[in-house]
Symmetry: C2
Subunit: 422 residues, 2 copies
C-alpha cells in the first residue's frame, strides 16, 4: 500500500486517450465506469475530454483538467504497441524523465513466464515510466497503472482495455481515493420505468416536484422502451440529503406505481426473475424475431438458472412446427406474425419445455420484409402459461436493433404485469 | 434544403451534454456515431468534451470547441423536460434571443395529432429556439436539430436520444456537410482478427511496417477475443493515399492470413453467414452457458434468416435431455461441462433442427458455480454437423459478461475455421 499525501479532492475529471475514440471505432465505456465508481465516493466528475494519441492533445487535456479538478483520471495510451505517446507526455508535463521500472519489468516477466513466452523489446519499452510515478498493479494484463502527484493534485493513468482499466480502478485506485475524499455528500436515486415515454412521465411527475429544493436535480434518461428517472442531491448534511431524496423518490413512486419496475442499478430481466423466484415459477422463451436476444437478456444476470430453464429460437417457420409443435394450419390461417401464433408459441413451449411461464415473440424486425397489412416493425408478443396466455401487437420502427430491443423489453413487461396482476 | 454559406471545414469537434454522462449512467455512443459519419467525409474529429447540463459548462465547451475546429456538433440537452439549458446557453453564446418557432410547433402538433394526443405547455417551451437557428427536421421524435453559424464556423445541436440523433445526422446533417468538406482526404482500412492478442499480432506485423510513411498510422483496437487493426491515412493526394494504404493492408493480410475474418465495418457473425450462404448450408445453435447470446449475435444481422434456422437454449440439464435428446448416461459419465456433451449437443441439435451445421456451448459463465476440476470460466465449445464435430476447451475469466462474449466469438470462429479448412 502506498503512503499517500492527504489531498482534498472536490472534483474529478476524466481524459480518454486514443485515435480510435475520435474516429468513432470504439465507444468510450471506460469513462462511464470511472464516473460511476467516483459517484460512490461522492466525487463529482465535472468534465470529460477525449483526445487523440498525440503529445500536444494530451498536453492540452492535462492542462484543462488541472484547471478544473483535483483528481485527473486518464485511460488509454498505455500498452506495448506503437500508438503510445502518453508516458512521454506525462513525463514532459511533470517535468521529469522516463526511467526503467524494475517493478514493472518483474510484473511483465512473471506474466510471460507463466505463459511460457519470451519478453521482447516492445515489452521492455513498456517498462519506461515517468520517474515520479507509483505503479498500480494490474493482475489481468500487462499494462500497469500510474499514480502521480503535482501541486496537490492527483493524476492517474490507466490502460484503455476495459477489463484492465476496471481491475485497476476497483482493486487499486478506489481504495486509495477512499481515504482522500472531501466531506460533501452526493447521493443518487434511480427509478426505472418501462413502456412509457419521457414526456408522459414528465407530465405526471413535474407537478409533484414544484417544491423540490435546489440541491436536488432530476434527469430523465430515456432508452428503448424505458425511461430511468435519476434524482441527484449534493449537500453537506448527509442525513438531510438522504431524507429529502427519499421523500421525493417516494412521491414519484406513489404517482407512477407499477410503471416503475425497479430502483437503482437493476434491469427488467432481473426484476422479473425476482418475481418468478418468489412464486417458485420456472421460465422459458419461444422467440422468433428477437432471435435469442430475449433469452440472452434473461440469462445475463448471475443466478438466472434458478428460474430460466429453456429457450427455443424458432426462427424459420418450419422450426415453429418441428421444435414447438405448432399446427401448420394455424400458421396458414392467421399468418406467422399474428396474436394467435404468438399465443400458441407460449402454449406449446410451456408443454415442450415443461416450464410454468413462457414469453414469446413473433414479428418483422426489419429493415425489410414487411407487407401492407404487416409492415416492418410489427411484432406480436405473448406471455403466460400452458393454460392462459395474453398477447399484444407492437407497432415499432424500421430499425432492426431497436425493434429487437423493444420487443424484448415489452414482452418481459407483459409477463411482469401479468404476474403482479395489472 | 437550406442555402448554405460555403465554409471551409477542416476539423470538427464534438460536445456531448448531460449530467447522466458525468455520473456514468449513460455511455456516450452518440459521439462515436458522429465521428464515424464525419470520417466518411474525411473530416477529422480533433477533440470531444462531455459536460453537464449547466450554462457555464456548455459555455466552456463551446468556447473550447470554437478555438480548435470549424464544425462543432453537440448532442443532448434538447427535449421537453426540465434538464434542458442548452438552447438558452446557445442563444447567449450567439448573442441572440430565443424566439417561438412556428415550424417547430407545427412539427410537434403533427406528431401529437397522429397519436391523438394534446400538446402541453412543456411542449410549447420546446419550440423556443435561438433566433439565428435553422431547424433540422426530425422524423423519429419531437426534438428538432438546430444549425447555427458564427464567424465562418458551423454549430449544430442535436437531441441526445440515439435514434433521433442518428436520424438527424444521417438524413439532414450529412447531406449539408458533404457540400462543405475540405480537400484533404482521410481514408481508413480496418482488418478484423479473432482469437489472438494485441501483442501476438503486433510482433508479427510490426516488422512489415518499418517503411510505412508518416502519413499512415496504425492502431490496435482490442475487444473480447478480437483485435481490429486500423490503418488511417491523411493526404492531399487521394490516389497516392489509397494505393499506399492498400499496399500495407495487403502486407498485413498476407502475414495474418486466416486470423483475419473480415475487413471494414463487419462482424464475425456476418462473415460466418456469408460462408454458410456461399455453400448453401443452414445453421442452428445449441446453447447452455451463452444463454441465447450466440443466437442473438447470429440473428442481429439483417438477412440472417437465409441461413439461421433454429436455436435451442438448453439452460437446465433437463432441457438438454428433453429438448435436444441427449443421453442422460452420457451426461452422468462426462459431466454437463465436457467436450463429449458439447459435441453431442451439436450432433443431436443437427438432427432435431434438421440443419446442416450447429454451434454449441456448455460451461460455467460465473461468477460462481465452479469446482476444482471445472473452475468458473471453463467452457466447452463445439461445431460441426450430425456426422462430424470438433470441440475445444476454453479457459476464460471469472467475469460472466466477458465469458459469454468470448464463448460466442470463439465458437463462431471454431465453425468458421472448420468451414474454410484450417
Amino acid at each position: 500500500m502506498l503512503i499517500l499525501t492527504k489531498l482534498k479532492i472536490m472534483r474529478a475529471s476524466i481524459i480518454s486517450i486514443g485515435d480510435e475514440l475520435l474516429i468513432g471505432q470504439v465507444i468510450d465505456s471506460n469513462s462511464a465506469q470511472i464516473a460511476r465508481a467516483l459517484g460512490e465516493l461522492a466525487i463529482p466528475v465535472v468534465r470529460k475530454w477525449s483526445v487523440g494519441d498525440s503529445s500536444s492533445e494530451i498536453a492540452y487535456a492535462l492542462q484543462q483538467a488541472t484547471a478544473c479538478s483535483e483528481l485527473i483520471l486518464m485511460t488509454g495510451g498505455l500498452g506495448p504497441t506503437r500508438d503510445d505517446v502518453t508516458k512521454k507526455e506525462l513525463a514532459a508535463f511533470f517535468n521529469v524523465s522516463l526511467h526503467f521500472s524494475e517493478e514493472n519489468y518483474n510484473h511483465l516477466r512473471s506474466i510471460f513466464e507463466a505463459r511460457g513466452l519470451q519478453l521482447t523489446d516492445a515489452h521492455t519499452t513498456q517498462c519506461m515510466i515517468p520517474s515520479n510515478a507509483l505503479l498500480l498493479p494490474n493482475k489481468v494484463g500487462t499494462a500497469m497503472g500510474l499514480w502521480m502527484e503535482k501541486d496537490a493534485k492527483i493524476y492517474v493513468a490507466m490502460p484503455g482495455v476495459p477489463d484492465e482499466m476496471m481491475y485497476i480502478l476497483r482493486e487499486e485506485l478506489m481504495p486509495r481515493i477512499r481515504h482522500q475524499k472531501a466531506d460533501l455528500s452526493c447521493h443518487h436515486a434511480t427509478l426505472c420505468t418501462v413502456g412509457y415515454g419521457e414526456t408522459d412521465i414528465a407530465l405526471r411527475i413535474e407537478p409533484l416536484l414544484k417544491d423540490m429544493p435546489e440541491y436536488i436535480s432530476i434527469a430523465y434518461l430515456p432508452a428503448i422502451s424505458q425511461v430511468r428517472l435519476r434524482l441527484t442531491g449534493i449537500h453537506h448534511d448527509e442525513q438531510l440529503l438522504k431524507n429529502t431524496l427519499h421523500a421525493f423518490t417516494q412521491k414519484i413512486r406513489e404517482e407512477l406505481k407499477s410503471m416503475i419496475y425497479g430502483e437503482g442499478d437493476t434491469n427488467l430481466a432481473l426484476e422479473l426473475g425476482k418475481i418468478l423466484m418468489e412464486r417458485g415459477l420456472s421460465l422459458g422463451t419461444a422467440e422468433s424475431c428477437t432471435g435469442g436476444a430475449l433469452a440472452a437478456k434473461l440469462t445475463a444476470n448471475p443466478g438466472s438458472s434458478d428460474y430460466f430453464k429453456s429457450g427455443i429460437v424458432s426462427y424459420a417457420t418450419a422450426s415453429k412446427i418441428n421444435l414447438l409443435g405448432l399446427d401448420p394450419s394455424l400458421i396458414a390461417e392467421y399468418g406467422v406474425v399474428s396474436a394467435q401464433v404468438a399465443e400458441a408459441m407460449v402454449r406449446h413451449a410451456a408443454q415442450v419445455m415443461n416450464v410454468d411461464r413462457v414469453i414469446a415473440t413473433t414479428g418483422i424486425a426489419g429493415p425489410s420484409g414487411g407487407t401492407e397489412d404487416i409492415p416492418v416493425g410489427t411484432v406480436f408478443i405473448a406471455a403466460g402459461s400452458a393454460e392462459k396466455q395474453v398477447s399484444r401487437r407492437l407497432r415499432l420502427s424500421r430499425n432492426r436493433d431497436r425493434n429487437i430491443e423493444a420487443a424484448c423489453m415489452l414482452s418481459m413487461e407483459l409477463l411482469r404485469t401479468q404476474l403482479i396482476g395489472n
